[in-house]
Amino acid sequence: MIRKVRSHINQDEPLLVERSSPGKKGYQLPPLDVPAVDPRAALGPDNVRDEIAGFPEVSEVEVIRHYTRLSTWNYAIDLGVYPLGSCTMKYNPRVNEFVARLDGLALAHPYQPEAVAQGAMRIQVELERALAEITGMPAVTLQPAAGAHGELTGILLIRALLESRGNPRRKVLIPDSAHGTNPATAAIAGYQVESIPSNAEGMIDLGELDRRVDDSVAALMVTNPNTLGVFERDITLAARLLHERGAMLYMDGANMNALVGIARPGDFGVDVMHLNLHKTFSTPHGGGGPGGGPVAVTREFEPFLPLPRIAGDGLLRYDYDRPQSIGRVRAFYGNFGVLVRALAYILAHGGDGLRNATLDAVLNANYVRRGLEGCYEVPYAAPSLHECVLSDKRQAALGVRTGDIAKRLIDYGFHPYTVSFPLIVHGALMIEPTETEDKRELDLFIDALRSIAEEVRDNPETVRTAPHNTRVRRVDEVAAARKPVVRWKPAAS
């Protein structure tokens, strides 16, 4: 039974350009206080464009209406639980938005003289220190713009260190349960990718590792907890094996929400890892980004970190004299506005608060798993941490798949979980509630999935053709891919 949502009238809205009419204005600039300049004279007649054909002309009122109406078509964390596995869709605190917009921070130019950038530099130093403490790894770079960017930085660091030791090696080992960015990243870093199968429990297979790690292997990339939400029990043994053979252990930190305050990757043998500020550290996803992908490393990698680094005690300064650095991975210093939000999050929690958040995250995931174990197959028996993975095996036997169940969940008023990932589970349902969910929301969520399991038995067609109650029904993704239309064009005259 659908309990959490009811129908409501919801505004339609065309594309802004379809509201456009020549001469409508949404802006006003102050008058020029200097002489106007003829563009053709100043730039050369061939360098000046005609009008921007097809561009909208609308008033301010239409801009507000347009985007407000669009916003009402979205689901969001602010509306309810967003149980996407490994995405850590937790509450985005609003004080973070406020402080990121303070003039002294928002209006600071990256090339502002260091003497008048001390505040921005101090924020970076404080965040680096906090992340070092959280990860148990002494050095941190804040340059990478997102997790995948951090992965690339991390693998380049490994490459640089190994090169300095005489042999960068050829291959990176990646578990078959890994997120797609891992192999894509390794390829950009110039490494061959070798997929390593998980064992029967869905974890690192030490026997396989032993067989495959030789001096052609630069690193093993792991996620811990892995994409099943399960702690890699043999991680310290794996780290030891790799280190004995001169290889490195890279950790994808996407699932850090299970570990903060409980265990530190630096303590269990990780050499290089990235963090996702837009996951563990609450910075808002905003429909797909921005994010932040800081990289934490052990002492031996420190000389290779992207430049510049921040040095100095009282007066901070940028240190560009780093001959072994891998170079820059982006212009300027990092997604500074995202760094501010992440630091605000850490300050709000403090050490104990961060640990308590982890406890609640793991409690919530286990509570959901318990609530659903009766109706959905649990593919791996190992205890879950901050996320749980179920399988659609029972429902598939009745002709309904995880993708259909996900769509039906929308009718119940929830955003779906992660569908069909990790690939090692047949028809996966990957659920991560995060710590910022209350019990009532979790109970409604469990209720909804139980109800859907019943519908699969009694009325599978309803599930297979869901969603039914959204303003847009199931979208034809096949047509979108066969004949891509990726921009609006004026009607042919």
Binding site: L70, I134, E151, L347
Partner: protein, 445 residues
């Protein structure tokens, strides 16, 4: 803790349902040797007011109340207040990547509009949903050109932003992609076309120029296109100052246009988060990195939008993906979309014309100093809202120190990037530069 919406009574209920005694029991299965056995060494959590105080103090250490004439890849523009009124809405701010199109039509529609407007501005046929920033868009554009042509070499003009070129070198090094750089002409400040032509061969995948370039000058894009195409290479045109798109002829001869849209989206914010653009000709669509939103219909025949051509991306093609990019800059792209909506067709033109007027006024005033102080415009190439001033033998750092005392942040000391230009400053004047401030700068120069 105010972000944790459970009472201890509820935690107790939940633990009971799991048959556990305490929250710690949830971690009992972890190997003992991995457990952190002490609290994290971080200060205790603080209240909202204390958080604000902390960041206000940091903001004050950055000092405020300066007029700034810095550009060089990050620009000061009036930012319509309506942008934040829209992007601060929880439905935009706290939404995820629109993988479930039925409940993400807000995000998807806005991205489709972004893609459309960027095509209209750049003269390209397709544009993706954003890259991290302009600097990473450069290596991604080159990698795309390599995929399209099957070649590996890139020829990059040295008049492209130096930090962008550094980023490109980092990306190119380990993929076996050789990079050569073409010099700029000492007179004009533009890329040296004969030198460029000599460097392009039939192993060149991409020729890269930036317009307006790092020195603010408008590059001869058509000639660069001719040179590139004559050898079967693609032309990549970068931009760092998006406002220029309102006035400059779009590079229709380019194969890929990539750059930085910060000017439309967000204040300089000490370097990020910004928003990168990647746009290209239609035939290259399947080699584009990043997300793409496409138009389609739903089961009821209504127009709807969804992410499309996902088989290019990492979550499907893994090590053979067009890029490893996953999270992009969607919210910042939305800010830019609102900006473009507010200004519209006329506004972007007027905005660009104001920028042109302000910068040319400042340049003209500084040129008048040539007799008294030896200062002069360094390059003869046409410029938009940035230009290089030769300080006539005086120390640019000294000039900037004097200006700082007058609450003015002067131009970028170019010696930091170009030893040949160590006596020069790169100055930027946008629509935000007031005449009296510019006069004051000239007086104290």
């Amino acid at each position: 803790m105010r972000y944790l919406p459970k009472s201890n009574a509820e935690r107790r209920e939940m633990l009971d349902s799991l048959g556990l005694a305490t929250l710690e029991d949830l971690f009992a299965h972890l190997p003992d040797e991995v457990r952190l056995k002490r609290p994290l060494d971080l200060a205790p959590g603080i209240s909202e007011y204390e958080i604000i105080d902390y960041f206000r103090a940091r903001a004050a250490e950055n000092d405020g109340g300066f007029a700034s004439f810095l550009g060089a890849g990050a620009y000061y523009h009036y930012r319509p207040v309506i942008i934040d009124a829209i992007v601060q809405r929880g439905e935009f701010l706290t939404a995820y990547t629109p993988y479930q199109p039925e409940i993400s039509q807000g995000t998807l529609t806005a991205i489709f509009e972004f893609q459309t407007m960027l095509c209209q501005l750049t003269g390209m046929d397709v544009c993706n949903a954003s890259m991290y920033d302009g600097s990473t868009a450069l290596p991604e554009a080159v990698m795309m050109a390599c995929r399209v042509t099957g070649r590996t070499r890139a020829v990059v003009a040295r008049s492209v932003h130096p930090e962008y070129r550094e980023v490109h070198r980092t990306y190119a090094r380990y993929q076996g992609l050789p990079v050569v750089e073409a010099p700029w002409n000492r007179e004009t400040g533009l890329v040296d076309l004969p030198a460029l032509e000599a460097l392009v061969d039939d192993q060149t995948a991409a020729v890269v120029v930036q317009s307006p370039n790092f020195f603010g000058c408008v590059e001869p894009v058509r000639e660069a296109a001719r040179i590139a195409h004559a050898r079967g290479a693609l032309l990549v045109v970068m931009f760092t100052e998006a406002v220029s798109l309102g006035l400059l002829e779009p590079p229709a001869d380019a194969d890929i246009v990539a750059g930085e849209l910060q000017s439309f989206a967000i204040s300089p914010s000490y370097g990020g988060p910004y928003v990168g653009v990647m746009a290209a000709k239609e035939k290259y669509i399947r080699q584009m990195p990043g997300r793409l939103v496409g138009q389609t219909t739903d089961a009821g025949g209504q127009r709807a939008y969804c992410l499309t051509l996902a088989t290019r991306e990492q979550h499907i093609r893994r090590e053979r993906a067009t890029s490893n990019i996953c999270t992009n800059q969607a919210l910042i792209a939305l800010m830019a979309t609102v900006f473009m909506s507010v200004y519209g067709k006329q506004g972007l033109r007027e905005l660009a014309e104001q920028n042109l007027a302000k910068a040319h006024y400042l340049a003209a005033q500084l040129e008048k100093l040539v007799e008294k102080r030896g200062a002069r415009l360094r390059f003869s190439g046409p410029f938009f809202n940035e230009f290089v001033v030769d300080c006539g033998g005086r120390d640019p750092a000294e000039i900037n120190r004097r200006l700082l005392g007058d609450k003015i942040i002067g131009g970028l000391e170019l010696g930091r990037f170009e030893p040949d230009l160590s006596g020069c400053l790169l100055l930027c004047a946008t629509e935000t530069a007031r005449r009296e401030t510019m006069d004051r700068l000239v007086n104290r120069f």
